[in-house]
């Protein structure tokens, strides 16, 4: 024993003047760590990105995690997508109308409800200051049945207006070249997104005209346009006022006297709201005056609240959210469980709970971001597929992207907070 002591002390002592700890530092500065602590915060440092490193260390696990989050993102997008599509589809026709204000009977609580008002009112409106035009739009839902040879007759929505006053925005440039064709008797344009059950072909312009029967009378489909179906309508036709009057004798002796919607354009320079108020004051309670946006909003609100659709898709979206929370929690909790002793070591070293909160939230945000990106791209592709398959307008707008992004963030952060409890349980006393 005594020999060992001698030999090591002899060896150790001359070795002292300092290889290691003196090597790079003046002894005066290292005497205590407190002096560093004072300097510390002044000098900005690139901290080790532990959250990111831990997350990306195992690429296979990361892939699985990200796929899980992406799956939840897709679920949410799909649910929201269909919900929006269904709502959008019901108002698609309104969006295509080239007008500022819409007149309709207050009892027409949904567009598909057929209550009408007298055409003379439009003349009154047209004479008002600031109003450029007030045109009638005729819509027939229940009373219109289209059939092709050897097919069943199916209900279809028919829209009609004065061909001289185009009431359509014509965003695709489809109507302008075709409207002239509608001047001929017994002609109509058909929505190419109408259900294929009708039996008409929309492959190429050369496939027209095609002959069918509307309410038992021959009708030539002379062209097509693109609008879309919704809950209540499986297809659309557009024709001239004159043809409309011929086909729908049930509307009375002068079928064009009763108007479904009145479309009002105002001078672009004038205040729309002021004109709206003035029109309401002029025509009283018999007919409502709504802006296009108000009508869209009212229509969507109706479907959202008075049908189970809103609930169904909200539940669907929530399911996606919950699935996401579970997946994300699993990922984060496993990540914590696998590194429990490392985290406990950090605790022993003096890392505070706050550090672990930040670490976990950071990981949550990274996961949200990593999962959202592929999820959104995949959803966009699915939207394209759905749109072509169902003819529903599946639109991924910026707002909708943001909503799902926020939901994804919330989803991951909630999981992170749940997983934190595991981290707080890491007991450094168990390390010894």
């Amino acid at each position: 024993m005594s020999e060992t002591v001698t030999s090591t002390s002899e060896r150790a002592i001359p070795a002292q003047p300092g290889l290691l700890l003196r090597l790079n530092l003046a002894t005066t500065t290292i005497r205590n760590a407190r002096s560093f602590r004072e300097i510390g915060p002044i000098i900005p440092m690139m901290k080790i990105p532990l959250a990111w490193k831990n997350l990306t260390y195992d690429p296979r696990r990361l892939l699985v995690s990200v796929s899980g989050i992406a799956f939840a993102v897709v679920l949410m997008f799909q649910q929201r997508g269909f919900q929006h599509a269904l709502f959008d589809s019901t108002v698609e026709i309104v969006r295509e109308l080239d007008c500022d204000l819409v007149l309709l009977r207050p009892t027409r609580f949904a567009l598909s409800v057929e209550t009408r008002f007298d055409r003379n009112l439009l003349d009154v409106v047209a004479s008002q200051r600031g109003v450029v035009s007030a045109e009638p739009l005729y819509v027939e839902n229940l009373g219109a049945r289209l059939r092709r040879e050897n097919q069943k007759a199916r209900p279809i929505r028919v829209l009609a207006f004065n061909l001289d006053r185009s009431l359509l925005l014509d965003r695709n440039g489809e109507f302008a070249p075709q409207l002239r064709l509608l001047e001929r008797p017994a002609t109509a344009l058909m929505d190419r997104l109408s259900r294929s059950d009708y039996g008409f072909e929309f492959g190429s312009p050369s496939s027209f005209p095609q002959t069918g029967e509307l309410n038992g009378r021959e009708l030539q489909i002379v062209g097509s346009f693109t609008s879309g179906r919704d809950f209540a309508h499986t297809g659309n036709l557009i024709m001239s006022e004159a043809n409309f009057a011929n086909y729908f004798a049930q509307r009375g002796s002068s079928p064009l006297q009763q108007v479904d919607l009145g479309l009002v354009k105002v001078k672009p320079s004038d205040d729309l709201e002021e004109i709206q108020q003035r029109l309401i004051a002029t025509i009283g309670n018999d007919v409502s005056v709504l802006t296009k946006a108000e009508l869209i909003e009212r229509e969507i609100a109706l479907w959202d609240r008075s049908t189970p659709i809103g609930v169904i898709f909200t539940v669907g979206t929530l399911m996606g959210f919950v699935v996401g929370v579970i997946i994300c929690y699993q990922v984060l909790a496993t990540a914590i469980a696998d590194h429990l002793s490392e985290f406990a070591t950090l605790k022993a070293m003096g890392y505070s709970d706050g550090y672990f909160v930040r670490l976990t939230i950071q990981q949550s945000v990274y996961l949200a971001g990593l999962g959202f990106l592929p999820g959104a791209i995949l959803s966009w592709l699915l939207f394209q597929f759905n749109a072509s398959f169902t003819a529903l307008p599946m639109a991924m707008t910026f707002d909708r992207l943001m909503v799902v992004l926020l939901a994804t963030l919330a989803m991951c952060i909630i999981s992170g907070i749940l997983a934190l409890r595991k981290l707080f349980a890491a007991d450094p006393a168990s390390l010894f």
Partner: protein, 379 residues
């Protein structure tokens, strides 16, 4: 043993012998600890008392379940103190707040049996987790981390992840992480268990340097006999009690010093190390009276360094130097001091209490004989 090395040892002994006034690094004062609650409550530590001074290397041994790990976790703030008082680096741990705990932990270095390195971080980054926490700026921390890892034989693997390191290399990274921020206290659990002899030795050499240069206190729980020689103090525990607490290094050095003296040569190693433990070091300034003629004799002195004058009735009769002893006559004969002893230079004396001195005489007849011979010669 050559003269030079024995001088060196003596000077180390005198230099490292702590003054009583030095503040303690670790002060375990009547600590009891219990696990479980209610009927399951079981006491695991019984009235532990342990005082450790800055710069001491303490090795704790004991069978498993003896409570040494519990005591280590208590000292390390990883467990709450239940009964008694425990001060670490001047901070009382009984009833300490969470914030103060976190702050105190930053001044402690932990080396666990398992390396606990983040697989996702390189050796360098794992060590940097410690310097980042303290906010040590990169330009200071980075070179130090590199130097330490190099020193530990990881020079070529500084930027490797743990997966690419052997068990021993990982443990050395963990060691580097535990001491890189130059803590005031290092708590290590079997730090050399996973290491080969060479790197194990390197680790304890670093410990010794830290202890010497930074006055860092190091507490090691180990069963590794290869490193026992670095211990200043060996504490052994059985069934929750500290059964022995020996300043081993001091005693070894002191025994070696004493063995060279004719008086103590006759003692066997066991007795020698037993009495070495009882010695105290006392320092006297030039001119001061060490003992005074006529006083009751209570202590026995061995001169470690310096010279003294023996004065009888105010007249100097003799001088004594390094290795001489005095004060024995009064103890043997139970008489008052027959002379005054005055320091001629700064003097360091090893001092033994009367009772301890007498027990040595009783335990060895040859010691008594040698003592009488010495007294006789002197007269």
């Amino acid at each position: 043993m050559n003269a030079e090395s024995s001088d060196q040892q003596l000077s180390e002994l005198l230099a490292t012998w702590p003054a009583d006034s030095t503040p303690l690094s670790v002060d375990v004062d009547h600590v009891n600890h219990f696990y479980g609650v209610g009927e399951m409550r079981k006491q695991v530590l019984f009235d532990n008392v342990l005082k450790i001074r800055p710069g001491e290397i303490v090795i704790m041994t004991g069978p498993s379940g003896s409570g040494k790990t519990t005591l280590l976790t208590l000292i390390g703030t990883l467990r709450s103190v239940q009964e008694g008082s425990l001060k670490v680096l001047g901070q009382e741990l009984l009833g300490i707040s969470a914030t103060a705990t976190t702050e105190l932990r930053k001044r402690i270095g932990f080396i666990f049996q398992a390396h606990n390195l983040f697989a996702s971080l390189t050796a360098f980054q794992n060590v940097r987790m410690a310097t980042e926490l303290l906010g040590i700026p990169d330009e200071k921390a980075n070179p130090r981390i590199e130097a330490t890892l190099k020193r530990l034989g990881l020079g070529a693997r500084i930027h490797y992840r743990p997966k690419a390191l052997s068990g021993g290399q990982k443990q050395r990274v963990a060691v580097a992480r535990g001491l890189i921020h130059e803590p005031g206290l290092i708590l290590a659990d079997e730090p050399t268990a996973a290491l080969d002899a060479e790197s194990g030795r390197e680790v304890v050499t670093i410990f010794q340097e830290l202890a010497k240069e930074q006055q860092c206190t190091i507490v090691i729980v180990t069963h590794d006999n290869r490193i026992l020689d670095v211990a200043d103090r060996i504490v052994s525990m059985v069934d929750g009690r500290i059964v022995s607490n020996v300043l081993i290094r001091r005693n070894t050095l002191l025994s070696q010093f004493l063995t060279q003296l004719d008086l103590f040569k006759v003692l066997n190693t066991t007795i020698l190390s037993k009495i070495a433990d009882k010695f105290d070091l006392r320092k006297f300034a030039t001119g001061s009276e060490i003992i005074k003629q006529g006083d009751a004799g209570t202590e026995f002195f061995v001169i470690g360094a310096g010279n003294v004058a023996i004065e009888i009735d105010g007249r100097q009769v003799n001088t004594l130097g390094h290795g001489s002893f005095f004060g024995e006559v009064a103890l043997i004969r139970d008489q008052p001091r027959n002379a005054t002893v005055r320091a001629l230079t700064p003097v360091s004396c090893f001092v033994l209490e009367k009772d301890d001195f007498q027990s040595v005489i009783q335990s060895s007849s040859s010691f008594e004989e040698e003592l009488r011979k010495a007294i006789f010669t002197r007269q």
